[in-house]
């Protein structure tokens, strides 16, 4: 398990799993940005933590010095190979964990599945799903907006795209949480990876005999330069789509509902001016960006006065970049109709989140349906809101009342 020693020096010994930081990292980033804009820690190997927009986006664009070969914020500390997936079964490297040229063509296989045209075709079913979930708890006058709602949405949409049954949703959620949220527990991490890889292997075998019209089937029958795509890559991409498409968007939906529950002015404004939703979704993504990625330093380099060594890790702190006063006016405020908003919640450069259109649609529809059915709601008094952090930050328990 990760270290639990309290942090005294955030500039030289930060801990992204510190419970106080997970619950409220914003003041910490503001402080670091002022006095040490690229912090360092040896807690989980030599790791750098930039907090300025300019630095984070420059590093994200500099793929020669900052490789994506290891993108996990929490290093794997179990026995055996460094990548827990390899401890289970070798699988093909999906584009998120690759550098060009491998990244370039594997990403192109995936992108059309998440184009805005495809995503539009998933909107009606997403809306129906959200509405059905609300039906389930509306009469009770209270719900856990994270557990009963946010957590239930992206996993079911992804299951549909992959062509696997929605009944698997709870199991998928458990595997993804094991891999991402409980990443400092090697046993859980291996358990989650084993579960999803074993499952997708069987699904791939089945599709060789009975191909469908889903992502898995079509990838199995794709080619690159005349050569059929290897099954191991199909497996890697399936794992990526599930791991990257579930926790992330669920966290964005949860954080947005948390904000609206505690800021009645913003909630009322969205109800009165629903046409603001497109801008509001981007602003909520900016203010509560869920995802931090990592990069590996490819060779010794001086970046912003920091002596980075080959093999060091850099945390692509997109959430902190999105709160940088040098890039955003009054960054600490949620301004629903913020007009200048070049946020990088979906990353920056060639690794821009391949599912960003899908995530944006899911977040918008989830908020629209919630507000339509539950226009007035607030945090349940005396009940605790809990947060997950590390690679993905968002509320995990979010009790709200609406009666």
């Amino acid at each position: 398990m990760g270290e639990t020693t309290p942090v005294e020096d955030w500039a030289g010994d930060f801990d992204v799993l510190d419970p106080g930081y997970v619950a409220d990292p914003f003041a910490r980033w503001d402080d670091l940005r002022e006095r040490c804009p690229i912090a360092h820690s040896n807690r989980r190997g030599s790791t750098w933590l930039p907090t300025r927009y300019e630095d984070v986006t420059a590093m994200a664009h500099d793929v020669d010095h900052f490789s994506s070969l290891d993108i996990s914020v929490i290093p794997f500390e179990g026995e055996g190979p460094e990548d827990p997936a390899e401890a289970v079964l070798p699988y093909g490297v999906p584009p998120i964990s690759a550098d060009p040229p491998l990244h370039t063509w594997t990403r192109r296989l995936l992108l059309p599945w998440f184009s805005h045209r495809r995503v539009e075709s998933y909107e009606a079913v997403t809306r129906e799903l959200c509405s059905g979930l609300i039906e389930g708890f509306l009469e009770q006058g209270r719900a856990d907006a994270a557990v009963d709602y946010a957590q239930q949405i992206p996993v079911r949409v992804i299951a549909r795209i992959l062509g696997v049954p929605a009944e698997m949703a709870d199991t998928f959620t458990e595997w993804v949480r094991d891999v991402l949220e409980f990443a400092d527990d090697p046993e859980k991490r291996i358990e989650g990876m084993t579960g999803l890889i074993t499952y997708f292997l069987a699904e791939i075998e089945r599709r060789k005999v009975e191909p469908g019209e889903d992502l898995l089937s079509e990838l199995l029958h794709s080619e690159f330069e005349g050569v059929p795509v290897e099954e191991s890559l199909v497996l890697g991409v399936a794992a990526l789509v599930l791991i990257a498409g579930v926790d992330t968007t669920w966290s964005a939906i949860g954080s947005s509902l948390w904000h609206l529950a505690g800021h009645p002015g913003d909630r009322e404004r969205l109800l009165a001016e629903p046409e603001l939703m497109a801008l509001a979704v981007e602003e909520l993504l900016r203010a509560y960006s869920p995802v931090t990625m990592a990069r590996i330093v490819t060779g010794d380099v001086d970046f912003g006065g920091c002596p980075m060594k080959a093999g060091d890790k850099v945390l692509m702190n997109f959430p902190a970049a999105n709160r940088d006063p040098a890039a955003f006016e009054r960054p600490e405020e949620v301004i629903l109709d913020r007009a200048v908003n070049r946020h990088v919640a979906f990353g920056s450069g060639i690794h821009r989140c391949a599912g960003s259109n899908l995530a944006r649609m899911e977040l918008r529809v989830a908020l629209e349906e919630w507000l339509r059915r539950i226009p007035v709601f607030s945090l349940a008094e005396a009940e605790e809101v809990t947060w997950a952090g590390g690679q993905v930050r968002g509320p995990r328990l979010l009790p709200v009342v609406f009666r």
Partner: protein, 67 residues
């Protein structure tokens, strides 16, 4: 007013399309371009400016105006 998307900078965030679908098109791989010759129809100027100010890659500019 005329807008242009720099294809070298565009990374497919599709923020422009989300904000001003009447001004941009995005292909299946996410690459965005201005519709037609980039001329912004009357009434869409504000949305064009919004698209410019929301591109995370600084890929959109007003033709003839220094970014």
């Amino acid at each position: 007013m005329k807008v242009r998307v720099d294809p070298e900078r565009c990374q497919g965030h599709a923020r422009c399309y989300a904000l001003a679908p009447e001004l941009f098109e995005v292909d299946d791989y996410g690459l965005s371009s201005a519709l037609g010759d980039g001329t912004v129809p009357a009434g869409s100027e504000e949305r064009a400016r919004l698209a410019i100010a929301n591109c995370p890659e600084f890929a959109i500019s007003e033709v003839g105006v220094e970014g």
